[in-house]
């Protein structure tokens, strides 16, 4: 392998380690909420700075590659995708921290009078995060397209939770503070799903050179 190929591989590997760290943070943030596990929440908060550092490292690697290699074709697509994926991963890490902070807050409050099922939403979002990273590792546009399709299910699940919590607040105003925390958590999970979708779109661009954001491909057909 020639030196510049090592550099592109190193960029790829750095993104993967960042993705792995963020996927763990998302999983731990959900567990901290569901299992009321303080350790997980603190771990997520501690890992945030590591995620931030890796984002800076990715940016630095990308700018160096642009300056030194003036990449084209698949190399160009990798550096463009890398800088966007790193930004999405960093935002996902932040959102995991927000969820962990809510989890810590909810741990010291009494439970809601009826249980809210976060499992479906959390599972969907976690599978999107892992799937988007898997599609990046394999450069697999089919897996990435599956992630795009899952986004609607996440939106629906978040809406269902929100409706149930609004109904609960209307019936029992004493739950408003806690219910709002849960609504915010659902919103944060949905946003993590959105970032996973962005990564999947970047993988399609990386693998096939096609821009599917904002359904550009369909518009181009008109």
């Amino acid at each position: 392998m020639r030196p510049f190929e090592e550099d592109f591989k190193s960029l790829n590997d750095t993104l993967l380690s960042m993705g792995s760290l963020v996927a763990h943070s998302v999983q731990r943030s959900v567990l901290s909420l569901v299992e009321k596990n303080e350790d997980y929440a603190h771990q997520v908060i501690r890992d945030e700075s590591r995620v931030d550092q890796i984002e800076i490292k990715v940016d630095d690697m990308v700018t160096s590659l642009i300056v030194r290699e003036q990449p084209v074709a698949r190399d160009m697509r990798l550096v463009v995708a890398a800088i966007k994926i790193a930004t999405d991963l960093e935002r996902m890490g932040d959102l995991a921290v927000h969820i962990a902070e809510r989890a810590l807050s909810l741990m010291v409050q009494p439970p809601l009078p009826e249980s809210i099922n976060f499992a479906d939403l959390a599972n969907l979002v976690e599978s999107m995060v892992l799937g988007s990273l898997d599609s990046f590792i394999k450069r697999d546009p089919q897996t990435a397209r599956g992630i795009l399709a899952a986004d609607d299910a996440v939106d629906k699940s978040r809406n269902d939770i929100q409706h149930r919590l609004i109904e609960l607040m209307q019936r029992d105003p004493a739950t408003v503070t806690r219910a709002l925390e849960y609504i915010i958590v659902a919103r944060k999970l949905e946003r993590i799903g959105d970032h996973a979708t962005n990564i999947a779109e970047d993988v399609i661009f990386l693998a096939q050179g096609i821009d599917v954001r904002h359904r550009v491909a369909e518009v181009a057909q008109v």
């Binding site: 990449p71 084209v72 160009m76 546009p141 096939q208 096609i210 821009d211 599917v212 491909a217």
Partner: protein, 273 residues
């Protein structure tokens, strides 16, 4: 098999993000061109179209046949002994291989890798071609033609006060622009450039590249270059040659963002060989 003309990328069933090239009558067209040095076949069935008033870049590793192909476009290769060409090359639909070679070379000018001004003054360099082609008319004096040609080559302001000095007194970049001005003086319809910037520094190179963008409004340009960034900057379409074959020809954006052939991608990303 080589592609005849730029096609939208064909990697997936989804449409290309960039519109397909408009169907226009090409200024020049090579059809199944093969070229032999003795028994060695240097070009294999090259079919390629050159759109009017566009810049086409030909790229590829040394020895791939791109310069050989370029030199067939105005029949300069005919000056070599023991060579043979097959196929057809047309200019405005007419086969140039059947035409008077002097007329063809007036209509299809050429600029070479190293500046090669005549050992004459700047003025004489420019006026030489129009004079031997009988192009000087009463309405257009030699001085007017020299000024016009030098302006088109963005050289006038730098040499207007020393037109009768030796062309050899100019810098390398100026000499190359003088050669372009000399080629433009006979109003060619097509301009062929064989690595015109390879001996120039980045500033002189930038001036030539700016010039090409301006010149293409009046003539069709074909440029052979080893500098892929140059092809990316100036060319509307780019063709990639390898081992005497045209591997891929497409819009320059497509070639450098998402080429359809692995050989093209390996070459432009530096993984060739």
């Amino acid at each position: 098999m080589a592609m005849n003309q730029p096609q939208p990328t064909s990697m997936t069933s989804e449409p290309s993000q960039t519109p397909a090239p408009q169907a226009v009558t090409p200024k020049m067209r090579a059809s199944n061109v093969s070229f032999y040095y003795g028994k060695f076949r240097a070009l294999h069935d090259i079919s390629l179209e050159f759109a009017t008033n566009k810049v086409t870049a030909l790229i590829g590793p040394s020895g791939c046949g791109k310069s050989t192909f370029l030199r067939n476009l105005n029949r300069i290769n005919e000056t070599l002994r023991d060579t043979r060409i097959e196929g057809e090359i047309t200019l405005d639909g007419q086969n140039i291989l059947d035409k008077d070679v002097t007329e063809i070379r007036r209509r299809i000018g050429m600029v070479f890798q190293r500046p090669n001004p005549f050992p004459k003054s700047i003025f004489e360099n420019i006026i030489y071609g129009p004079r031997i082609n009988g192009m000087l008319r009463r309405r257009q004096s030699a001085a007017e033609l020299v000024e016009k040609s030098l302006r088109r080559a963005a050289l006038w302001d730098e040499v207007k006060d020393k037109l009768h000095d030796s062309a050899y007194a100019l810098s390398g970049g100026q000499q190359q622009r003088l050669c372009i001005a000399r080629a433009l003086a006979v109003d060619p319809e097509v301009l062929l450039l064989d690595e015109p910037c390879s001996a120039l520094d980045p500033i002189a190179t930038a001036k030539i590249e700016d010039l090409l963008v301006t010149i293409k409004e009046q003539c069709t340009i074909v440029i052979v270059t080893h500098n892929m960034q140059q092809a990316a900057r100036v060319a509307d379409t780019t063709g990639f040659f390898l081992l005497g074959k045209l591997i891929e020809h497409d819009k320059t954006d497509v070639i450098f963002k998402n080429p359809s052939k692995k050989e093209t991608e390996d070459y432009i990303t530096g993984r060739f060989g």
